[in-house]
Symmetry: C2
Protein backbone atom coordinates (compact mmCIF):
# COMPACT_ATOMS: atom_id res chain seq x y z
CA UNK A 1 0.00 0.00 0.00
CA UNK A 2 1.31 3.38 -1.10
CA UNK A 3 1.26 6.05 1.64
CA UNK A 4 1.30 9.85 1.44
CA UNK A 5 0.15 13.06 3.06
CA UNK A 6 -1.98 15.64 1.23
CA UNK A 7 -2.19 19.22 2.45
CA UNK A 8 -3.45 21.01 -0.64
CA UNK A 9 -6.99 21.11 -1.95
CA UNK A 10 -5.45 21.38 -5.38
CA UNK A 11 -3.85 17.96 -5.16
CA UNK A 12 -4.73 15.84 -8.19
CA UNK A 13 -6.32 13.03 -6.11
CA UNK A 14 -8.48 15.52 -4.24
CA UNK A 15 -9.71 16.89 -7.56
CA UNK A 16 -10.46 13.38 -8.83
CA UNK A 17 -12.43 12.54 -5.67
CA UNK A 18 -14.54 15.67 -5.94
CA UNK A 19 -15.25 15.14 -9.61
CA UNK A 20 -16.32 11.55 -8.98
CA UNK A 21 -18.56 12.49 -6.09
CA UNK A 22 -20.27 15.23 -8.08
CA UNK A 23 -20.64 13.80 -11.57
CA UNK A 24 -22.57 10.71 -12.63
CA UNK A 25 -21.04 10.85 -16.10
CA UNK A 26 -17.54 10.96 -14.61
CA UNK A 27 -18.42 7.89 -12.54
CA UNK A 28 -19.75 6.12 -15.61
CA UNK A 29 -16.70 7.04 -17.70
CA UNK A 30 -14.09 6.00 -15.15
CA UNK A 31 -15.82 3.06 -13.51
CA UNK A 32 -14.95 4.61 -10.15
CA UNK A 33 -17.04 6.19 -7.42
CA UNK A 34 -16.65 7.61 -3.91
CA UNK A 35 -17.79 6.76 -0.41
CA UNK A 36 -17.70 8.89 2.74
CA UNK A 37 -17.82 7.72 6.35
CA UNK A 38 -15.75 5.28 8.39
CA UNK A 39 -18.46 2.68 8.57
CA UNK A 40 -19.50 2.85 4.94
CA UNK A 41 -15.88 2.65 3.75
CA UNK A 42 -15.12 -0.28 6.10
CA UNK A 43 -18.27 -1.90 4.75
CA UNK A 44 -16.82 -1.55 1.24
CA UNK A 45 -13.61 -3.24 2.42
CA UNK A 46 -15.54 -6.05 4.08
CA UNK A 47 -17.69 -6.51 0.97
CA UNK A 48 -14.57 -7.00 -1.16
CA UNK A 49 -14.84 -3.75 -3.10
CA UNK A 50 -11.60 -2.64 -4.74
CA UNK A 51 -10.35 0.45 -2.85
CA UNK A 52 -8.18 2.70 -4.99
CA UNK A 53 -7.52 5.35 -2.34
CA UNK A 54 -8.50 6.11 1.21
CA UNK A 55 -8.27 9.65 2.64
CA UNK A 56 -8.37 10.31 6.39
CA UNK A 57 -7.39 12.97 8.91
CA UNK A 58 -5.20 12.32 11.97
CA UNK A 59 -8.28 12.80 14.17
CA UNK A 60 -10.23 10.23 12.14
CA UNK A 61 -7.40 7.72 12.54
CA UNK A 62 -7.62 8.08 16.31
CA UNK A 63 -11.38 7.90 16.42
CA UNK A 64 -12.07 5.19 13.85
CA UNK A 65 -8.87 3.11 13.94
CA UNK A 66 -10.58 -0.34 13.75
CA UNK A 67 -12.54 0.74 10.69
CA UNK A 68 -9.49 2.33 9.08
CA UNK A 69 -7.42 -0.79 9.63
CA UNK A 70 -9.99 -2.84 7.75
CA UNK A 71 -9.81 -0.27 4.96
CA UNK A 72 -5.97 -0.18 4.92
CA UNK A 73 -6.05 -3.96 4.50
CA UNK A 74 -7.52 -3.54 1.04
CA UNK A 75 -6.53 -0.02 -0.06
CA UNK A 76 -4.06 0.55 -2.87
CA UNK A 77 -3.06 3.92 -1.46
CA UNK A 78 -3.63 5.67 1.85
CA UNK A 79 -3.57 9.46 2.05
CA UNK A 80 -3.45 11.28 5.35
CA UNK A 81 -5.12 14.64 4.72
CA UNK A 82 -5.18 18.00 6.45
CA UNK A 83 -8.38 19.48 7.91
CA UNK A 84 -8.85 21.93 5.00
CA UNK A 85 -8.64 19.03 2.53
CA UNK A 86 -11.21 17.07 4.58
CA UNK A 87 -13.39 20.17 4.52
CA UNK A 88 -13.13 20.22 0.72
CA UNK A 89 -14.03 16.54 0.36
CA UNK A 90 -16.91 16.22 2.77
CA UNK A 91 -20.47 15.93 1.52
CA UNK A 92 -22.35 15.49 4.81
CA UNK A 93 -22.63 17.93 7.67
CA UNK A 94 -21.07 15.85 10.43
CA UNK A 95 -18.29 14.24 8.42
CA UNK A 96 -16.20 11.47 9.94
CA UNK A 97 -13.33 12.58 7.69
CA UNK A 98 -12.84 9.17 6.09
CA UNK A 99 -13.23 9.00 2.30
CA UNK A 100 -12.57 6.37 -0.36
CA UNK A 101 -12.28 6.18 -4.10
CA UNK A 102 -13.73 2.79 -5.06
CA UNK A 103 -13.82 0.79 -8.25
CA UNK A 104 -16.96 -0.78 -9.73
CA UNK A 105 -14.79 -3.49 -11.19
CA UNK A 106 -15.57 -6.75 -9.42
CA UNK A 107 -18.89 -5.64 -7.91
CA UNK A 108 -21.49 -8.39 -8.15
CA UNK A 109 -23.45 -8.21 -11.36
CA UNK A 110 -26.31 -10.40 -12.40
CA UNK A 111 -25.28 -11.73 -15.78
CA UNK A 112 -28.02 -14.31 -16.24
CA UNK A 113 -31.00 -14.36 -13.91
CA UNK A 114 -31.36 -17.53 -11.89
CA UNK A 115 -34.53 -19.56 -12.41
CA UNK A 116 -34.66 -19.89 -8.61
CA UNK A 117 -34.21 -16.17 -7.93
CA UNK A 118 -36.63 -13.49 -6.79
CA UNK A 119 -35.88 -10.14 -8.41
CA UNK A 120 -36.97 -6.53 -8.22
CA UNK A 121 -36.81 -4.47 -11.39
CA UNK A 122 -36.95 -0.69 -11.04
CA UNK A 123 -38.02 1.61 -13.84
CA UNK A 124 -37.03 5.28 -13.82
CA UNK A 125 -36.51 5.70 -10.06
CA UNK A 126 -35.46 9.35 -9.82
CA UNK A 127 -34.57 9.98 -6.20
CA UNK A 128 -31.17 8.58 -5.13
CA UNK A 129 -32.36 8.18 -1.53
CA UNK A 130 -35.30 6.10 -2.70
CA UNK A 131 -33.07 3.94 -4.89
CA UNK A 132 -30.64 3.43 -2.01
CA UNK A 133 -33.46 2.55 0.39
CA UNK A 134 -34.78 0.05 -2.15
CA UNK A 135 -31.38 -1.69 -2.25
CA UNK A 136 -31.17 -1.66 1.54
CA UNK A 137 -34.57 -3.25 2.07
CA UNK A 138 -34.06 -5.69 -0.79
CA UNK A 139 -30.88 -6.95 0.82
CA UNK A 140 -32.45 -7.13 4.28
CA UNK A 141 -35.31 -9.24 2.97
CA UNK A 142 -33.10 -11.50 0.86
CA UNK A 143 -34.04 -10.42 -2.69
CA UNK A 144 -31.67 -12.18 -5.16
CA UNK A 145 -30.79 -9.13 -7.23
CA UNK A 146 -31.89 -5.87 -8.78
CA UNK A 147 -32.68 -5.04 -12.38
CA UNK A 148 -32.44 -1.35 -13.21
CA UNK A 149 -33.72 0.43 -16.29
CA UNK A 150 -31.19 2.67 -17.96
CA UNK A 151 -33.03 5.81 -16.85
CA UNK A 152 -32.86 5.09 -13.11
CA UNK A 153 -30.70 7.52 -11.19
CA UNK A 154 -27.11 6.51 -10.42
CA UNK A 155 -26.82 3.97 -7.59
CA UNK A 156 -23.20 5.08 -7.09
CA UNK A 157 -24.11 8.68 -6.22
CA UNK A 158 -23.16 9.66 -2.65
CA UNK A 159 -26.81 9.94 -1.62
CA UNK A 160 -27.88 6.58 -3.04
CA UNK A 161 -24.85 4.83 -1.57
CA UNK A 162 -25.52 6.33 1.85
CA UNK A 163 -29.19 5.42 1.81
CA UNK A 164 -28.29 1.87 0.73
CA UNK A 165 -26.06 1.44 3.81
CA UNK A 166 -23.61 -0.40 1.61
CA UNK A 167 -26.15 -2.75 0.00
CA UNK A 168 -25.05 -1.40 -3.38
CA UNK A 169 -21.69 -3.11 -2.73
CA UNK A 170 -23.28 -6.52 -2.39
CA UNK A 171 -26.56 -6.88 -4.22
CA UNK A 172 -26.13 -8.19 -7.80
CA UNK A 173 -27.37 -5.71 -10.37
CA UNK A 174 -28.29 -5.96 -14.01
CA UNK A 175 -28.74 -2.71 -15.91
CA UNK A 176 -30.92 -2.97 -19.01
CA UNK A 177 -31.27 -0.61 -21.96
CA UNK A 178 -34.75 -1.72 -22.99
CA UNK A 179 -36.70 -2.89 -19.95
CA UNK A 180 -39.90 -3.97 -21.79
CA UNK A 181 -37.88 -6.06 -24.28
CA UNK A 182 -35.94 -7.68 -21.44
CA UNK A 183 -39.15 -8.45 -19.56
CA UNK A 184 -40.67 -10.06 -22.65
CA UNK A 185 -37.52 -12.15 -23.09
CA UNK A 186 -37.54 -13.28 -19.45
CA UNK A 187 -41.26 -14.04 -19.74
CA UNK A 188 -40.52 -16.31 -22.70
CA UNK A 189 -37.79 -18.01 -20.66
CA UNK A 190 -40.37 -18.93 -18.03
CA UNK A 191 -39.89 -16.13 -15.51
CA UNK A 192 -43.02 -14.78 -13.82
CA UNK A 193 -43.14 -11.06 -14.46
CA UNK A 194 -45.31 -8.78 -12.31
CA UNK A 195 -46.01 -5.11 -13.01
CA UNK A 196 -46.84 -3.21 -9.81
CA UNK A 197 -49.71 -0.83 -10.47
CA UNK A 198 -51.94 1.30 -8.21
CA UNK A 199 -55.09 -0.19 -9.68
CA UNK A 200 -57.47 -2.07 -7.43
CA UNK A 201 -58.65 -4.11 -10.42
CA UNK A 202 -55.23 -5.71 -10.84
CA UNK A 203 -54.49 -8.97 -9.07
CA UNK A 204 -54.09 -8.55 -5.29
CA UNK A 205 -50.58 -9.14 -4.00
CA UNK A 206 -52.25 -11.45 -1.48
CA UNK A 207 -53.49 -13.70 -4.26
CA UNK A 208 -50.34 -13.70 -6.39
CA UNK A 209 -47.97 -16.58 -6.08
CA UNK A 210 -44.39 -15.35 -6.33
CA UNK A 211 -42.78 -18.65 -7.28
CA UNK A 212 -39.01 -18.94 -7.67
CA UNK A 213 -38.13 -17.15 -10.88
CA UNK A 214 -40.34 -14.12 -10.19
CA UNK A 215 -39.59 -10.54 -11.16
CA UNK A 216 -41.64 -7.66 -9.74
CA UNK A 217 -41.31 -4.36 -11.57
CA UNK A 218 -41.82 -1.10 -9.70
CA UNK A 219 -42.03 2.31 -11.28
CA UNK A 220 -41.20 5.96 -10.95
CA UNK A 221 -42.15 7.72 -7.71
CA UNK A 222 -44.65 10.04 -9.33
CA UNK A 223 -45.80 8.45 -12.56
CA UNK A 224 -45.43 4.73 -11.91
CA UNK A 225 -44.61 2.27 -14.70
CA UNK A 226 -44.74 3.08 -18.40
CA UNK A 227 -47.55 1.51 -20.40
CA UNK A 228 -45.06 -0.48 -22.44
CA UNK A 229 -43.49 -2.03 -19.36
CA UNK A 230 -46.90 -2.91 -17.93
CA UNK A 231 -47.82 -4.63 -21.20
CA UNK A 232 -44.53 -6.53 -21.24
CA UNK A 233 -45.37 -8.25 -17.93
CA UNK A 234 -47.53 -11.34 -17.51
CA UNK A 235 -49.42 -10.13 -14.45
CA UNK A 236 -50.48 -6.77 -13.05
CA UNK A 237 -50.21 -6.81 -9.28
CA UNK A 238 -51.54 -4.33 -6.74
CA UNK A 239 -51.68 -3.79 -2.99
CA UNK A 240 -55.23 -4.05 -1.65
CA UNK A 241 -56.05 -0.94 0.27
CA UNK A 242 -58.43 -0.56 3.15
CA UNK A 243 -57.65 3.10 3.81
CA UNK A 244 -56.85 6.01 1.49
CA UNK A 245 -55.06 4.47 -1.46
CA UNK A 246 -53.36 7.70 -2.49
CA UNK A 247 -51.62 7.74 0.84
CA UNK A 248 -49.35 4.79 0.09
CA UNK A 249 -46.17 6.19 -1.40
CA UNK A 250 -43.92 4.43 -3.88
CA UNK A 251 -41.30 3.41 -1.31
CA UNK A 252 -43.87 1.94 1.04
CA UNK A 253 -45.50 0.05 -1.82
CA UNK A 254 -42.14 -1.33 -2.99
CA UNK A 255 -41.36 -2.49 0.52
CA UNK A 256 -44.65 -4.32 0.88
CA UNK A 257 -44.21 -5.97 -2.52
CA UNK A 258 -40.72 -7.19 -1.64
CA UNK A 259 -41.95 -8.46 1.69
CA UNK A 260 -44.80 -10.35 0.03
CA UNK A 261 -42.44 -11.89 -2.52
CA UNK A 262 -40.23 -13.14 0.26
CA UNK A 263 -42.95 -14.49 2.54
CA UNK A 264 -44.14 -17.06 0.00
CA UNK A 265 -45.11 -20.47 1.40
CA UNK A 266 -42.36 -22.07 -0.66
CA UNK A 267 -39.70 -19.85 0.85
CA UNK A 268 -37.64 -20.51 3.97
CA UNK A 269 -39.80 -18.56 6.41
CA UNK A 270 -42.34 -20.42 8.49
CA UNK A 271 -45.63 -19.33 6.98
CA UNK A 272 -49.16 -19.42 8.25
CA UNK A 273 -49.73 -22.41 5.98
CA UNK A 274 -47.49 -24.46 8.23
CA UNK A 275 -49.11 -23.47 11.50
CA UNK B 1 -65.21 35.22 6.31
CA UNK B 2 -63.10 38.26 7.13
CA UNK B 3 -60.98 39.50 4.20
CA UNK B 4 -57.83 41.63 4.15
CA UNK B 5 -54.59 42.36 2.36
CA UNK B 6 -51.20 42.14 4.09
CA UNK B 7 -48.16 43.87 2.63
CA UNK B 8 -45.87 44.01 5.63
CA UNK B 9 -43.76 41.21 7.05
CA UNK B 10 -44.25 42.88 10.40
CA UNK B 11 -48.00 42.30 10.36
CA UNK B 12 -49.15 40.59 13.56
CA UNK B 13 -50.68 37.59 11.72
CA UNK B 14 -47.49 37.03 9.77
CA UNK B 15 -45.54 37.00 13.00
CA UNK B 16 -47.98 34.52 14.55
CA UNK B 17 -47.72 32.22 11.52
CA UNK B 18 -43.93 32.21 11.66
CA UNK B 19 -43.83 31.56 15.37
CA UNK B 20 -46.25 28.65 15.02
CA UNK B 21 -44.34 27.11 12.15
CA UNK B 22 -41.02 27.34 14.01
CA UNK B 23 -41.87 26.49 17.59
CA UNK B 24 -43.33 23.25 18.93
CA UNK B 25 -43.92 24.85 22.33
CA UNK B 26 -45.84 27.71 20.71
CA UNK B 27 -47.98 25.13 18.88
CA UNK B 28 -48.61 23.25 22.12
CA UNK B 29 -49.43 26.43 24.03
CA UNK B 30 -51.87 27.86 21.47
CA UNK B 31 -53.41 24.67 20.08
CA UNK B 32 -52.73 26.03 16.60
CA UNK B 33 -50.37 24.98 13.84
CA UNK B 34 -49.53 25.86 10.24
CA UNK B 35 -49.74 24.20 6.84
CA UNK B 36 -48.14 25.24 3.57
CA UNK B 37 -49.18 24.26 0.04
CA UNK B 38 -52.43 24.49 -1.89
CA UNK B 39 -53.09 20.79 -1.79
CA UNK B 40 -52.24 20.24 1.86
CA UNK B 41 -54.37 23.24 2.92
CA UNK B 42 -57.30 22.08 0.76
CA UNK B 43 -56.87 18.66 2.32
CA UNK B 44 -57.24 20.29 5.75
CA UNK B 45 -60.46 21.95 4.59
CA UNK B 46 -61.79 18.68 3.20
CA UNK B 47 -60.87 16.85 6.40
CA UNK B 48 -62.93 19.31 8.45
CA UNK B 49 -60.01 21.03 10.17
CA UNK B 50 -60.82 24.45 11.62
CA UNK B 51 -59.03 27.07 9.47
CA UNK B 52 -58.28 30.25 11.38
CA UNK B 53 -56.55 32.11 8.52
CA UNK B 54 -55.51 31.45 4.95
CA UNK B 55 -52.75 33.51 3.29
CA UNK B 56 -52.28 33.54 -0.50
CA UNK B 57 -50.73 35.65 -3.22
CA UNK B 58 -52.59 36.91 -6.30
CA UNK B 59 -50.55 34.47 -8.41
CA UNK B 60 -51.52 31.56 -6.15
CA UNK B 61 -55.20 32.50 -6.47
CA UNK B 62 -54.91 32.27 -10.25
CA UNK B 63 -52.98 29.03 -10.22
CA UNK B 64 -54.75 27.13 -7.46
CA UNK B 65 -58.25 28.62 -7.52
CA UNK B 66 -60.17 25.33 -7.03
CA UNK B 67 -58.06 24.49 -3.98
CA UNK B 68 -58.39 28.00 -2.59
CA UNK B 69 -62.14 27.97 -3.00
CA UNK B 70 -62.34 24.83 -0.89
CA UNK B 71 -60.20 26.58 1.71
CA UNK B 72 -62.27 29.82 1.62
CA UNK B 73 -65.34 27.69 2.29
CA UNK B 74 -64.04 26.94 5.77
CA UNK B 75 -61.65 29.78 6.58
CA UNK B 76 -62.43 32.35 9.28
CA UNK B 77 -60.25 34.95 7.60
CA UNK B 78 -58.60 35.22 4.17
CA UNK B 79 -55.48 37.33 3.73
CA UNK B 80 -54.17 38.22 0.31
CA UNK B 81 -50.43 38.74 0.78
CA UNK B 82 -47.66 40.45 -1.19
CA UNK B 83 -44.71 38.51 -2.64
CA UNK B 84 -42.33 39.67 0.12
CA UNK B 85 -44.74 38.41 2.75
CA UNK B 86 -45.02 35.04 0.95
CA UNK B 87 -41.23 34.95 0.87
CA UNK B 88 -41.18 35.44 4.64
CA UNK B 89 -43.74 32.70 5.29
CA UNK B 90 -42.50 29.96 3.01
CA UNK B 91 -40.71 26.93 4.40
CA UNK B 92 -40.16 24.90 1.21
CA UNK B 93 -38.06 25.83 -1.79
CA UNK B 94 -40.77 25.82 -4.46
CA UNK B 95 -43.57 27.34 -2.46
CA UNK B 96 -47.10 27.45 -3.84
CA UNK B 97 -47.69 30.59 -1.78
CA UNK B 98 -50.73 29.21 0.04
CA UNK B 99 -50.51 29.06 3.84
CA UNK B 100 -52.97 28.33 6.65
CA UNK B 101 -53.14 28.71 10.39
CA UNK B 102 -55.12 25.71 11.62
CA UNK B 103 -56.61 24.74 14.95
CA UNK B 104 -56.09 21.36 16.63
CA UNK B 105 -59.48 21.76 18.20
CA UNK B 106 -61.84 19.17 16.72
CA UNK B 107 -59.13 16.95 15.25
CA UNK B 108 -59.96 13.28 15.77
CA UNK B 109 -58.58 11.98 19.02
CA UNK B 110 -58.77 8.45 20.30
CA UNK B 111 -60.31 8.80 23.73
CA UNK B 112 -60.90 5.15 24.48
CA UNK B 113 -59.38 2.47 22.27
CA UNK B 114 -61.91 0.27 20.50
CA UNK B 115 -61.80 -3.44 21.28
CA UNK B 116 -62.14 -3.99 17.52
CA UNK B 117 -59.33 -1.62 16.56
CA UNK B 118 -55.80 -2.21 15.32
CA UNK B 119 -53.39 0.38 16.69
CA UNK B 120 -49.80 1.45 16.28
CA UNK B 121 -48.04 2.94 19.28
CA UNK B 122 -44.85 4.90 18.67
CA UNK B 123 -42.22 5.49 21.34
CA UNK B 124 -39.74 8.34 21.01
CA UNK B 125 -39.82 8.73 17.22
CA UNK B 126 -37.38 11.60 16.69
CA UNK B 127 -37.51 12.44 12.99
CA UNK B 128 -40.61 14.41 11.91
CA UNK B 129 -40.42 12.95 8.38
CA UNK B 130 -40.45 9.43 9.83
CA UNK B 131 -43.40 10.25 12.07
CA UNK B 132 -45.29 11.79 9.14
CA UNK B 133 -44.55 8.78 6.91
CA UNK B 134 -45.80 6.49 9.67
CA UNK B 135 -49.11 8.35 9.75
CA UNK B 136 -49.34 8.28 5.97
CA UNK B 137 -48.81 4.53 5.68
CA UNK B 138 -51.01 3.81 8.70
CA UNK B 139 -53.87 5.65 7.07
CA UNK B 140 -53.30 3.99 3.70
CA UNK B 141 -53.40 0.54 5.25
CA UNK B 142 -56.42 1.26 7.43
CA UNK B 143 -54.88 1.34 10.93
CA UNK B 144 -57.54 2.52 13.42
CA UNK B 145 -55.44 5.07 15.25
CA UNK B 146 -52.05 6.07 16.60
CA UNK B 147 -50.79 6.12 20.16
CA UNK B 148 -47.83 8.43 20.72
CA UNK B 149 -45.52 8.56 23.70
CA UNK B 150 -45.00 12.03 25.13
CA UNK B 151 -41.41 12.15 23.85
CA UNK B 152 -42.25 11.62 20.17
CA UNK B 153 -41.50 14.64 18.01
CA UNK B 154 -44.37 17.00 17.18
CA UNK B 155 -46.74 15.65 14.54
CA UNK B 156 -47.86 19.22 13.83
CA UNK B 157 -44.41 20.39 12.74
CA UNK B 158 -44.25 21.50 9.08
CA UNK B 159 -42.03 18.53 8.16
CA UNK B 160 -44.17 15.89 9.84
CA UNK B 161 -47.35 17.35 8.40
CA UNK B 162 -45.88 17.39 4.89
CA UNK B 163 -44.59 13.82 5.13
CA UNK B 164 -47.99 12.69 6.42
CA UNK B 165 -49.72 14.08 3.31
CA UNK B 166 -52.52 15.25 5.55
CA UNK B 167 -53.00 11.96 7.41
CA UNK B 168 -52.35 13.86 10.64
CA UNK B 169 -55.68 15.65 9.98
CA UNK B 170 -57.62 12.41 9.94
CA UNK B 171 -56.03 9.62 11.92
CA UNK B 172 -57.23 9.51 15.56
CA UNK B 173 -54.37 10.03 18.01
CA UNK B 174 -53.93 9.38 21.67
CA UNK B 175 -50.91 10.92 23.37
CA UNK B 176 -49.79 9.19 26.56
CA UNK B 177 -47.52 10.42 29.32
CA UNK B 178 -46.47 7.00 30.57
CA UNK B 179 -46.47 4.49 27.70
CA UNK B 180 -45.50 1.39 29.72
CA UNK B 181 -48.26 2.10 32.27
CA UNK B 182 -50.81 2.60 29.48
CA UNK B 183 -49.74 -0.62 27.78
CA UNK B 184 -50.11 -2.55 31.04
CA UNK B 185 -53.58 -1.05 31.52
CA UNK B 186 -54.62 -1.98 27.97
CA UNK B 187 -53.20 -5.47 28.46
CA UNK B 188 -55.38 -5.88 31.56
CA UNK B 189 -58.38 -4.70 29.53
CA UNK B 190 -57.80 -7.54 27.06
CA UNK B 191 -55.84 -5.78 24.32
CA UNK B 192 -53.05 -7.75 22.66
CA UNK B 193 -49.87 -5.73 23.05
CA UNK B 194 -46.86 -6.44 20.81
CA UNK B 195 -43.39 -4.93 21.28
CA UNK B 196 -41.48 -4.80 17.98
CA UNK B 197 -37.86 -5.83 18.58
CA UNK B 198 -34.96 -6.67 16.25
CA UNK B 199 -34.37 -10.00 17.96
CA UNK B 200 -34.71 -13.17 15.94
CA UNK B 201 -35.62 -15.06 19.13
CA UNK B 202 -38.83 -13.08 19.52
CA UNK B 203 -42.03 -14.38 17.96
CA UNK B 204 -42.05 -14.11 14.16
CA UNK B 205 -44.53 -11.62 12.77
CA UNK B 206 -45.61 -14.47 10.48
CA UNK B 207 -46.68 -16.52 13.46
CA UNK B 208 -48.36 -13.75 15.45
CA UNK B 209 -52.08 -13.39 15.27
CA UNK B 210 -53.05 -9.73 15.30
CA UNK B 211 -56.65 -10.14 16.42
CA UNK B 212 -58.97 -7.15 16.68
CA UNK B 213 -57.84 -5.20 19.72
CA UNK B 214 -54.14 -5.41 18.90
CA UNK B 215 -51.55 -2.72 19.58
CA UNK B 216 -48.08 -2.94 18.05
CA UNK B 217 -45.44 -0.71 19.63
CA UNK B 218 -42.54 0.53 17.55
CA UNK B 219 -39.54 2.37 18.88
CA UNK B 220 -36.97 5.03 18.26
CA UNK B 221 -35.11 5.00 14.93
CA UNK B 222 -31.72 4.32 16.50
CA UNK B 223 -32.27 2.71 19.86
CA UNK B 224 -35.60 0.92 19.46
CA UNK B 225 -37.98 0.43 22.39
CA UNK B 226 -37.10 1.04 26.02
CA UNK B 227 -36.76 -2.03 28.24
CA UNK B 228 -39.72 -0.92 30.32
CA UNK B 229 -41.98 -0.69 27.29
CA UNK B 230 -40.89 -4.11 26.06
CA UNK B 231 -41.66 -5.59 29.48
CA UNK B 232 -45.08 -3.91 29.53
CA UNK B 233 -46.17 -5.78 26.38
CA UNK B 234 -47.56 -9.31 26.27
CA UNK B 235 -45.61 -10.43 23.21
CA UNK B 236 -42.27 -9.55 21.61
CA UNK B 237 -42.61 -9.63 17.84
CA UNK B 238 -39.91 -9.54 15.18
CA UNK B 239 -39.53 -9.63 11.41
CA UNK B 240 -37.82 -12.82 10.24
CA UNK B 241 -34.84 -11.90 8.13
CA UNK B 242 -33.30 -13.86 5.33
CA UNK B 243 -30.75 -11.22 4.39
CA UNK B 244 -28.70 -8.80 6.47
CA UNK B 245 -30.87 -7.98 9.46
CA UNK B 246 -29.12 -4.70 10.20
CA UNK B 247 -30.17 -3.47 6.79
CA UNK B 248 -33.85 -3.16 7.66
CA UNK B 249 -34.38 0.37 8.92
CA UNK B 250 -36.98 1.44 11.45
CA UNK B 251 -39.40 2.86 8.86
CA UNK B 252 -39.28 -0.26 6.71
CA UNK B 253 -39.83 -2.45 9.76
CA UNK B 254 -42.79 -0.34 10.89
CA UNK B 255 -44.33 -0.59 7.44
CA UNK B 256 -44.03 -4.36 7.34
CA UNK B 257 -45.51 -4.68 10.84
CA UNK B 258 -48.50 -2.50 9.91
CA UNK B 259 -48.99 -4.47 6.73
CA UNK B 260 -48.92 -7.77 8.62
CA UNK B 261 -51.41 -6.45 11.18
CA UNK B 262 -53.79 -5.52 8.39
CA UNK B 263 -53.48 -8.70 6.35
CA UNK B 264 -54.84 -10.90 9.11
CA UNK B 265 -57.18 -13.71 7.99
CA UNK B 266 -59.98 -12.18 10.06
CA UNK B 267 -59.64 -8.85 8.28
CA UNK B 268 -61.45 -7.72 5.16
CA UNK B 269 -58.72 -8.67 2.69
CA UNK B 270 -58.93 -11.96 0.87
CA UNK B 271 -56.11 -14.00 2.41
CA UNK B 272 -54.26 -17.08 1.30
CA UNK B 273 -56.38 -19.03 3.78
CA UNK B 274 -59.40 -18.45 1.59
CA UNK B 275 -57.78 -19.44 -1.69
Amino acid sequence: MEKMRIESRKNERVKIYKKLSQSASERARSGEFTAEGARLCADAARSGVRIKSVFYTVQALEKYRPYLEEIFGRAESACEISEPVAEALRDVRSSQEVFCILSREGLPSEGTLSAEGLYIAAERIQDPSNLGALFRTAEALGISGMILSDDCCDRFSPKALRASMGSVFRLPVQKVKDLPASLRKWGEQGFFTFAAVPDQNAESVLQCRFAPGSITVIGNEGSGLTEETIRACRTRVTIPMRGRAESLNASAAAMILMWEMMREPGMTYPSRHDL
